[in-house]
Every structure is written in C-alpha cells, then in structure tokens.
C-alpha cells in the first residue's frame, strides 16, 4: 500500500509496517494508526501518522544512544500491547532536532514500545526519573569517542 509521509512524500509500505497505538502518543492521543518507515540513515526510523500527514516522529534505538539504558515501566504499559515476549518487543526513543540550536536529543523518559507480533504500540513512561526527555545524542557519542 502507498501512504503519504511528511518526510518522503508517497512511500510504499507493507501491511507489516502499520502500527496501532490504542492510546495514541502523548499530546497526539487521537493518532492511533501509524506506519514505521526505514530511512536511508540507519539506525533512524520514521514513524508516520496515517491520520495526519503532518505528524511524524524520528525514532532511534535508545540502547545505541545510551549504553546503560534500561526499561523501568509499569506492567500496565506492557498490557496495552498485550504483554509481548521479550523477543517480540521493539524499543525506540523519539528524536528531537531543535530548530534554533540544531541540537539533537532523544527522549529516554517516554520510550515507544512495539509488539512486533500484533503491531500494537504504546508510549510508556519510565518510572525512574533519572531518564531525561532531552538526552543529547551527539554529545554522548563525542564524549565516548
């Protein structure tokens, strides 16, 4: 099927790439249908709303951004995506590019969880307050290098 995306215009996706978020995303509660799109820039992905073409997020694997990242979430968040087995659980972090400073951060406090068996998704909330909504991606890599 073809969908309209903010980043890439019309793109063809497989039905396996469609996702359903029963509660939407915080601030975008009405957007329940999404598509996960590969980008030329691995390991980044785009999550495009199928409800509103103007709404899309850039996602990244949080374990690459922060080596000691750990999920610390409520069972009720996992229940939304019907309690996936560990090998069916995909974890992503939403990336923000700040227009004014160009700074690139990722939101480690509100991870996106996807059950790849049933394509259900949820934005979970980390219980430990040490996880930042604006964790710098580049500063971390530069420090490590």
């Amino acid at each position: 099927m073809f969908i309209n995306s903010r980043e890439f215009g019309a793109v063809e996706i497989d039905s396996k790439q469609t996702l359903q978020f029963p509660h939407g995303i915080y601030g975008f509660e009405r957007c329940s249908q999404w598509a996960l799109i590969d980008t030329p820039r691995k390991p980044f992905y785009v999550m495009q709303s199928l409800t509103d073409v103007h709404i899309s997020f850039i996602l990244v694997n949080p374990y690459l951004v922060c080596e000691d990242y750990l999920l610390d979430i409520l069972e009720s968040d996992l229940a939304v995506i019907e309690n996936p087995q560990a090998h069916d659980l995909l974890v992503f972090s939403i990336v923000t590019v700040r227009e004014t400073t160009g700074m690139i951060t990722s939101n480690l406090a509100g991870p996106i969880l996807i059950n790849r068996r049933n394509h259900l998704g949820v934005q979970a909330v980390q219980q430990d307050t040490k996880w930042d909504t604006r964790f710098p991606i580049m500063a971390e890599k530069q420090a490590a290098g």
Binding site: S56, N61, L64, L74, T133, K141
Partner: protein, 88 residues
C-alpha cells in the same frame, strides 16, 4: 474539583477498583500509596507533562538535519544489528 481532607493512614476509594492511601506526611512532602488494576496507568503528572511537551517539539523535527551530520557523530547502525541479535 472534588476536595477531600485526609489524615495519615486514611484512604480514598475511586470507583470499584482504585484505592489511594496517605502513607506519610513530612512538611511539604506527602507519600501516597495507590492500588489500582493493572490496566490503569498511574504516572507522576510532571513526567507526563514533560513527555507531552517533548513530543510536541519532536513532531517538528525532520530528517534533513540528521542527514547533514557526519556518520562519526551518529549512533553506529552496526551496533544496532548486534543489539537486536543479542536480544533476539
């Protein structure tokens, strides 16, 4: 807004399944216990607000900014494959 006055060890029941208990009060710090079914998501409000605010900032981001960054400044995609292998 419904306003109720409670002392330590007193509780509030919300519907059939949710009980909120005042466990401890120390000056301006209140420790609250919540018993709720597993399908009810309970969060600290300020974290919820921070995530909502960040989502609204993130939705304006586009890939062109990421495309302009050198590979050496980005997370390593090959590590991503190793990561998914080790978890799979």
């Amino acid at each position: 807004m419904l306003i109720l006055s409670r002392k330590v060890d007193q509780r509030i029941r919300i519907g059939d399944d949710v009980v909120v208990s005042v466990l401890e009060i120390d000056r301006d710090h209140v420790k609250i216990g919540i018993v709720a079914p597993k399908n009810i998501r309970v969060y600290r409000h300020e974290i919820y607000e921070a995530i909502q605010t960040e989502n609204r900032a993130a939705v304006l981001s586009d890939m062109s900014a990421i495309d302009t960054i050198g590979d050496d400044h980005l997370p390593d995609a090959e590590d991503a494959d190793k990561e998914s292998d080790s978890r799979g």
